[in-house]
Amino acid sequence: MSILIDERTTFIIQGITGREAVSMTRECLDYGSKLVGGVTPGRGGRGVHGVPVYDTVKEITSQQRVDGSVLTVPPAFVRDAAFEAIENGIKLLVIVTERIPRGEVAQVCEHARMHGARLIGPNCLGLISPGKSKMGGIGGAAVKRAYTPGHIGVMSRSGGMTTEISNTLTAAGFGQSTAVSIGGDAIIGSTYAELMPLFEADPETEAIVIYSEPGGPMEAQLAEYVRATKSRLPVVAFMAGKFMDAMPGMRFGHAGTIVEGRADTAAEKIARMQDAGISVAEAIQDIPEIVRSRLNGKGA
């Protein structure tokens, strides 16, 4: 199985006529995803690689079931586009756009929560359940080289590193159940800990690999989750940005990757995760071996 999306998932792309969205459309179709429509206001009636384009979300949702939407509209238009998807009953939003002000992300999260919709991102590359469907640009055109069906759940604050890690797992014979690029912003729709129950409930998923960074409380939240629930899934983490610990207040990488407090340095996060029984890999290429030993029941 997988989480969030599978071969039956239908979705649309809001902002489908944008340059990056056009190639994303091609890739999703080539992968076999059920991409049923796109929206760009003022461009209704056209098509992108055979996918019909509409002016409004309602035109599509009134005709057929739509499970999800990928949003790739410019930052200033994301909030309204997200509200449009949510209020038309779409339950899974993947926001690819970066540089959305934090306050607007909070509003989208609040709106989604009120309507029972789940949000992935913003500032992400989407998600993939290998062999079934992919939503977003994750993996690019050569997606099949990096992602293969299997039993590892992957969650990453970096879109590129989602693929790097999955590729490393694939090369070592570990496929993925679902790989989620959760987004690099300070506030994201779904944190590691919020996706964990979904992976727990998926009988196919046997272990979790995460990519993490300094900044924010999400790794501490995951550590607390693993400790409190005694999760059946071994978790292996890789922590990037160790050099940033010596440079508080400087901005590197993602918007969410700024050390603002005492508890959000790389060193502090590694300690907290290890304390909760999460294995922390020193290098990406070490991950498969650690996964193997954790699956064989050996300790962290």
């Binding site: 909070a106 879109g159 050099f243």
Partner: protein
């Protein structure tokens, strides 16, 4: 982006929060004049983007214009945490009866703003939360209008405050929270928020942060405060090298080839993307390398943009070689980056085979990219070589070029 205290107080004043009477001075003469206008005792405060000003000698008191002149002279000449003061803030000094703390931030887990209030103001709030948790109250509030003022009332009242004080503090807490939302802030703190002998409540010091993402939407406010686009307001001001890096990135809207941060090493880094750059930078350091810069390539930068970034990095004195490393890319075209980097090296007057220590970018159009690198004799590797191994090889080449012995990491 952090606001100076005087800017923060202008913004608070615009939002209705009472602040002290005073003004900013660039010279000791101006400081003396303002002190005279304010009358009575004054406090002079160095305007730097850092805490610990009192300890560093950046805050002084004066009771007459002449005294203020001397104090201002000393403050204006004093560097704090490597920063020269922007100016000196001269304010009327008021007798304080009690100090509170008022703050608003986003809670990344609740995904809501949270207002924080304490009746132990004047010290670091994280410290108060640790040592006197019963004196810190928090409340989350909705980002949708209308603003729930009653929540601020409940927040203040939860620490046992009532009477006129409750109403005054509720009003200020609400004004602060609404300013936080209206101006796209990520941190809004008044500390201390002081009750004076006459019972009135004013903001004595304030720390406000605005994120990069909010700047476009807040152009009018930033113009009013006189804050230019070039003021990044990070932990230190941008170097000329970093400013040129930002110019390269802004020269073309396609993709990212910038976010340059200068370091003092000799290995130039053409690396990406967001997470990949952090991973590579750690690896270079782990193997004993000394990076000349941090940067990020992402999306689909043009050949010209990649070339200009390469040239910029090679123009930095002391840079011996560059390494070009990214994670497996989804939408960045390997051939375009390869062409750009090679072009940049040649235009800078060097041989790509000698200057590029290693090229490791696997992904879309990699075969076309590798062909270009082969033609110029550049060492490259595909996804079978881990990112950290590519970093190690680059560090090793630098070491050999400098004639240093091999180090086994």
């Amino acid at each position: 982006m952090r606001f100076y205290e005087f800017e923060a107080k202008t913004l608070l004043g615009m939002s209705g929060v009472p602040v002290s009477k005073g003004g900013t001075a660039l010279t000791a003469d101006d400081a003396a004049r303002i002190a005279g206008e304010v009358g009575g005792d004054v406090v002079l405060k160095s305007q730097v983007l850092s805490g610990g000003r009192m300890k560093a000698g950046g805050i002084k008191f004066a009771s007459a214009a002449e005294e203020a002149r001397t104090a201002a002279e000393q403050i204006l000449a004093l560097e704090i945490g490597g920063q020269r003061p922007r100016c000196v803030l001269v304010e009327s000094k008021q007798p304080v009866k009690k100090e509170y703390y008022a703050g608003v931030i986003y809670d990344a887990l609740a995904k809501l703003p949270v207002a924080i209030f304490s009746d132990l103001g004047g010290i670091d709030i994280e410290q108060v939360a640790e040592t006197h948790p019963g004196h810190v109250a928090r409340v989350h509030f909705s980002t949708f209008s209308p603003f729930p003022e009653f929540k601020m009332k409940e927040l203040v009242a939860s620490l046992g405050i009532s009477g006129g004080e409750l109403n005054a503090l509720t009003r200020i807490m609400s004004q602060l929270a609404q300013a936080f939302l209206r101006y796209g802030l990520t941190l809004a703190e008044i500390n201390p928020l002081a009750q004076l002998d006459d019972g009135s409540i004013i903001a004595l010091d304030s720390h406000l942060d605005m994120e990069e993402e909010a700047r476009d939407g807040q152009a009018a406010l930033l113009a009013r405060l006189g804050i230019g686009r070039e003021e990044t307001r990070l932990a230190r001001p941008p170097t000329p090298f970093e400013i040129r890096g930002a110019e390269v990135d802004a020269s073309d809207h396609r993709g990212v080839a910038g976010r340059v941060v200068e370091f003092d090493g000799t290995l130039g880094c053409v690396i990406g993307a967001g997470g990949g750059s952090l991973t590579i930078f750690d690896a270079i350091r782990k193997f004993g390398g000394d990076p000349a810069n941090y940067c990020e390539i992402g999306g689909n930068p043009s050949v010209k943009k990649a070339a200009e970034l390469t040239k910029l990095i090679l123009s930095k004195p002391g840079v011996g070689k560059i390494c070009v490393i990214m994670n497996v890319v989804s939408n960045t075209r390997v051939d375009i980056v390869a062409r750009g980097v090679v072009k940049g090296v040649i235009e800078a007057g060097y041989d790509p085979a000698e200057k590029i220590a290693i090229f490791r970018i696997p992904g879309s159009w990699e075969d076309e990219g590798f062909k270009i690198l082969e033609k110029y004799g550049v060492e490259y590797c595909d996804r079978s070589v881990p990112m950290s191994e590519a970093a190690r090889r680059a560090v090793e080449k630098m070491r050999k070029a400098k004639g240093e012995p091999e180090v086994v990491a």
